[in-house]
Symmetry: C2
């Protein structure tokens, strides 16, 4: 569907930039502050290095995340949200508010 001609409304833009189930969770984690690769991986239970790398690269390309690599031994890489990425806070809050109102029954029925 991503190849389609989408009307460039706000919702579509959000969906294009935050596609995949992990995208939103990574942003939420980075909203807590700048973090290293390993910190992110530890916080996001179940994510693989492969996936985390790809998501972060994509965010970087889209200007949502800033990557800073320190040429040390061992190497250290810190990821942090750009102002654009940080402004996702409002959307995440809305999602969280809605999710907490969802009854258990809606989730078990799958």
């Amino acid at each position: 569907m991503n190849g389609r001609i989408l009307p460039q409304c706000g919702v579509e833009r959000f969906l294009i930039l935050l596609d995949g189930p992990w995208a939103t969770l990574i942003v939420r984690e980075l909203l807590r502050g700048p973090q290293r690769f390993t910190e992110l991986r530890g916080a996001l239970t179940g994510i693989s290095a492969h996936t985390l790398t790809h998501r972060l690269r994509r965010f970087e390309q889209h200007g949502l995340v800033k990557r800073t690599a320190y040429a040390e031994i061992p190497p250290r890489v810190v990821y942090e949200l750009t102002p654009l990425g940080a402004s996702l806070q409002d959307v995440l809050s809305a999602m969280n508010d809605w999710g907490t109102t969802v009854p258990e029954a809606a989730l078990t029925a799958s």
Copy 2:
């Protein structure tokens, strides 16, 4: 990732119930009011009957959408959001607000 044990926070619930790129767009369309299958299909440019059916069935199971079938010739089926589904309005608004602030450059870089 859906098989993982997720902390049952709000954001996770939202992501589980609105998975896939079409889910959010279907909800946005239904926020305009109850609609028939064909109306939805026409409004969601590019969606296939197959996909629309699956998404609607899933929403129905989760209590986000109510399906009403009229035994007429030709048959008529109307979908409408439940109160739970309608309460997604706030999240959609937040997404839309954020998306409109995204610069063009973030989208072209893909």
